[in-house]
Amino acid sequence: MLLSESEINLTHRSTINSTAILAKNLSKHVVDVTNKASANKIEILNDLNLQVAHGESIAIVGSSGSGKSTLLALLAGLDVPTAGSVEVSGRSFSTLDEDARAAMRGAQMGFVFQSFQLLPTMTALENVMLPMQLANRKDAKQMAVATLEKVGLAERLQHYPKQLSGGEQQRVAIARAFAPKPAILFADEPTGNLDIATGECIIELLFSLNRQANTTLILVTHDVQLAQRCRRQLTLQHGQLSAI
């Protein structure tokens, strides 16, 4: 189910509820497939709580395997928790089915993945247009062109991902994330696949666009320096979040 234009306006930048994301007693367990006999559970997240205000930027840091990406997926409704709940702009994911969660994502969220996740069969322009086409936005093309110009890829609109460098691909991914003007942006190790110089450029771009759009930013990284550019830094350890 997709949200209508009026619903989007209602939920988008809601001033009624100043909390963008609220995670309560969030747990995620998986079964240890290597030891089926004992059916051991691995606790990735354990009774975790988090509140993020609209317009806030937070960084979640932690070592590899600490569950950062899992947390991000749960906050974005890409995955379902074993226990606990996530509310986005006052609506709980636990009451929604997968289609309704998808509609929420389409209306309110944007994503930047570590591995870019561009569709190789689409041009840069088509990749950026994609989320807006799904939302049936009539201005998808203008918005996509404008955002690609903002990220410095005006000359690369018709290029395919394999014709772009890693940095350029990530800029397309950032354009794709910002073009629909989401309320919340999830970024999962956005510089993880890039060299230092390119990574810095990308971060500059990400934060600059974030400032302009006043988007709620949830950034997952293991890079402490990058994390410090966010207003709030949290560390994920043993399935629990704590302030740095």
Partner: protein, 834 residues
């Protein structure tokens, strides 16, 4: 080498566990098993059909002679482990009291028949007995027609020459009732040892001596090779194919069809494997790149890949052969209950063929990738950003094209059919490629016009986004659909052609020796008989010997082919007609006009013209009872000999032969149990000779129906191969589609939207593939019907529409089934797994 082998094996195992290899192995196993099963089954059916044909000869082959067969022929047969049996055939009067009739006597020894049996009715039995026995000494079996004509009952005495023999059975069916149908008179079957006592065979008697042979095909071939060069004038060796033109025609058509079915299975399987090989090749490239990083040489990589390919070919090929062997057993068992009494045991040739095929196909697919891998820098593979030189991509398919071409020529029975099939395959690739490209662009343009919903636009646009893959899928689907349709079309046409060539009321009695003044009384006689539905056509026959071609004398020595020699040594039946018979087809020249009724023109049958190298416009001189007449070849006709209708090699305009005395003949359908009509006709026209072809027609009809059932069984295999193509095409693009679907889900697309997009894309593919398949299959069917199978072409609109509807339902449905399981999985899991 050992290390390379270990690495190759380990990689294969891990790729199997990762799932990339399974589709390829499945495709290869299915390819080999279907081909092996088809080959096993067709070999066995072909052997069985030859046996069936053998029943018409009484053996696998027969040596015919117009004088006693030299004893060394049977001694040689024994040396080649062949069984043999001697028979004699001659015409003589059979007498009972004051009645007599000309009978065709057949004297057989204790071994006859070597294949098949007699259908005989005895005094104590009302039912027909199928007998492997033969008349005892002092006894005869007679045909009902003879029993009726001579008023004979069982246990009566029949006078043959100097002796009397007891009528011990009524002969209803016999093997070997073949040969020249115009020589038929009612049969009397007797023991060969009684012949001398009859004193019927004197110096100069016309006797047909036969040595019937039966045994292993290879031994028979060697025997024929040895005997054939030593055959004297008047001696010939014939097998099922050469002995009976109507059976030969049916067998040829069946062989063409079975060959075509095998080719279809091969091509479909290769298409499936090409599609299924992509993920395996990609993984192999990654593994090779890693090995290169760790210090492996190019030669190491090449060896590992070659070992992997050989291992895969051997394992999948072996499994395929085994499966094919088991499947054909099941089929043969099932088929045996339906229509085949005893299929001969399978031989091992299909196993060897299956393994060779497995290696040939897999190496043809893998070799270009193995070669390419050596030339791609490792870092490009690791970064996954290498692009093959597009102008050289077609080279990757060259080995596969070569293998397909070789296989087609190997499997096709005729050069013409192989060419037609090849042209069809390459034609459809070209036509579908161009059409797919054009339509993808059109759809892309349409998708930008904002006339459609965004999701539908995305689905339509996917065709252009994955242009190469889309074209490959459309070509794959089209070929699958095309060959399946072609099989249905040809099968339907063949069946209709066979059915219509032998309708239930096809003529079963021929009357010859009709004099000119008896033509009208005969027509009157026949028109008064209610059992004979319509008054049959009466044909004039003038016997003449071909003596000159274009003014030059012509004789047997001028020809090398036996058939041509025989044709010029004997007299032709020249007939006349104002209009061409409806079942004849004009191939060259024109039929005569009404004002050419007495013109010296001639219409020749195609095969005889070819055998004697006679062309349109040639002049032929015939010697008719001492007078010569020169005729110009005005047309060349194709004649359906298996229609069993009266037909003539040479036909002139109606008045051209008026000056010569002619005898006449006719043919009509006489329903069962109406033989008394013939008796009263013979009383009125005692000089008539009536030839009964009902029994031979029943045998032909039986063989036709078995062929048709065999064809249906082979057809099932081709359908299975088509399904594998569909599956392989879907699986080959599954990971790309999953990535797309999960990203769309991450960006907020609903399940409905993802499905709609997928269905739009596959519906586009289905429409294009089915339209092109209908067009190309119809074109190819027209060519095959007209020029190869020699049957009448009809466009099958119902089938075309069914194909379109089936494709529109099946292709999107199959696509949905492949991806459906993933739509309920959280997108996070899918993104992780990609």
């Amino acid at each position: 080498m050992t290390l390379n082998f270990v690495l190759a094996w380990q990689q294969l195992r891990s790729q199997w566990q990762a799932g990339d290899l399974r589709v390829l192995v499945l495709a290869l196993v299915l390819a080999v098993s279907s081909i092996t099963a088809v080959n096993f089954f067709t070999h066995r059916i072909a052997a069985h059909l030859n046996n069936q044909g053998g029943m018409l000869l009484g053996g696998d082959a027969v040596i015919k002679a117009d004088r006693a067969i030299p004893p060394q022929y049977s001694t040689e047969a024994k040396r080649h482990s062949l069984r043999s049996s001697s028979t004699l055939e001659f015409a003589s009067m059979a007498i009972n009291a004051d009645k007599n009739i000309l009978a065709e006597i057949k004297a057989i020894d204790d071994n006859f028949p070597l294949i098949g049996d007699f259908g005989v009715q005895f005094l104590t039995e009302r039912t027909v007995q199928n007998m492997r026995t033969r008349p005892a000494k002092g006894e005869v079996w007679v045909e009902p027609r003879l029993a009726n004509a001579l008023n004979l009952k069982l246990d009566d005495q029949l006078e043959l020459g100097a002796i009397k023999l007891k009528v011990a059975g009524i002969l209803l069916r016999e093997p070997s009732r073949g040969g020249d149908m115009f020589s038929f008179a009612p049969r009397v079957m007797m023991h060969i040892d009684d012949v001398p006592a009859t004193k019927l065979l004197q110096f100069g008697s016309r006797v047909k001596y036969q040595l019937v042979l039966e045994g292993n095909a290879e031994n028979l071939k060697q025997y024929t090779r040895k005997i054939a060069p030593n055959l004297q004038r008047g001696e010939s060796i014939e097998d099922v194919k050469t002995a009976r033109p109507e059976i030969r025609s049916a067998l040829d058509k069946a062989e063409i069809f079975l060959g075509l079915s095998a080719m279809v299975t091969v091509v479909l399987s290769i298409v499936a494997m090409l599609l299924a090989s992509a993920p395996f090749v990609a993984r192999s490239q990654e593994a090779a790149a890693l090995l290169r990083c760790f210090g492996a040489s190019k030669a190491n990589i090449e060896n590992i890949m070659l070992i992997q390919t050989a291992l895969l070919a051997a394992i999948a090929g072996g499994a395929g052969c085994l499966l094919g062997y088991l499947v054909q057993f099941g089929l043969a068992h099932f088929a045996g209950k339906l229509f085949l009494e005893n299929l001969p045991a399978p031989n091992l040739t299909p196993i060897v063929m299956g393994l060779l095929l497995s290696f040939a196909i897999l190496f043809a697919i893998m070799l270009p990738h193995i070669r390419a891998l050596k030339n791609i820098p490792t870092i490009q593979i690791l970064r996954r950003n290498f692009v093959l030189n597009s102008s050289k991509i077609w080279m990757n398919y060259l080995p596969v094209i070569v293998v397909i071409t070789l296989l087609i020529f190997l499997l096709a029975k005729t050069f013409k059919l192989a060419l037609a099939f090849l042209a069809g395959i390459f034609g459809i690739c070209l036509v579908t490629g161009v059409l797919a490209f054009g339509l993808a662009l059109l759809l892309h343009r349409a998708s930008q016009s904002k006339a459609f919903d965004n999701i539908i636009c995305l689905g339509m646009g996917n065709l252009k986004r994955r242009l190469g893959l889309s074209i490959a899928q459309i070509v794959g689907f089209s070929i699958g659909a095309m060959v399946l349709m072609l099989l249905v079309m040809i099968k339907t046409d063949l069946m209709q052609s066979w059915q219509s060539s032998l309708p239930a009321d096809a003529p079963n009695r021929f009357i010859i020796n009709i004099q000119q003044n008896q033509v009208e009384p005969l027509k009157t006689f026949l028109s008064q008989i209610s059992a004979i539905k319509c008054t049959p056509q009466v044909f004039a026959m003038v016997r003449g010997r071909l003596v000159e071609k274009n003014g030059q004398p012509i004789n047997a020595e001028m020809f090398t082919e036996d058939r041509a020699k025989r044709l010029v040594s004997r007299e032709f039946n020249l007939s006349s007609a104002a209009v061409m018979q409806t079942d004849n087809k004009l191939q060259q020249g024109r039929w005569w006009r009404a004002d050419e009724a007495a013109a010296p023109l001639l219409s020749l049958e195609h095969d005889i013209a070819q055998a004697l190298n006679i062309k349109l416009g040639d002049t032929l001189t015939y010697d008719i009872a001492g007078s010569k007449i020169t005729l110009t070849v005005a047309s060349i006709r194709k004649v359906e000999w298996d229609s069993m209708r009266a037909n003539f090699f040479a036909v002139t305009p109606p008045e051209t032969l008026a000056q010569f005395s002619a005898s006449y003949m006719t043919a009509f359908y006489l329903p069962k149990n109406q033989d008394n009509i013939l008796n009263s006709m013979l009383q009125q026209f005692p000089n008539f000779t009536v030839i009964d072809v009902a029994s031979i027609m029943n045998q032909v009809r039986e063989i036709m129906s078995k062929l048709a059932t065999a064809v249906s069984f082979i057809f099932v295999f081709c359908v299975l191969a088509g399904v594998v193509v569909l599956y392989a095409a879907l699986v080959a693009t599954r990971s790309a589609r999953l990535q797309e679907a999960s990203l769309l889900r991450a960006f907020g697309a609903s399940r409905k939207q993802v499905i709609l997009m997928l269905l739009t894309e596959f519906t586009s593919i289905a429409v294009l593939a089915s339209i092109v398949a209908v067009l190309v299959a119809s074109g190819l069917n027209y060519y095959l019907s007209r020029y190869v199978l020699d049957i009448v072409y009809q466009f099958n609109l119902q089938l075309a529409l069914s194909a379109l509807v089936m494709a529109l339902v099946l292709i999107p449905l199959a696509a949905w089934l492949v991806i459906r399981g993933y739509l309920n999985v959280p997108p996070k899991q899918l993104l992780n797994s990609i």
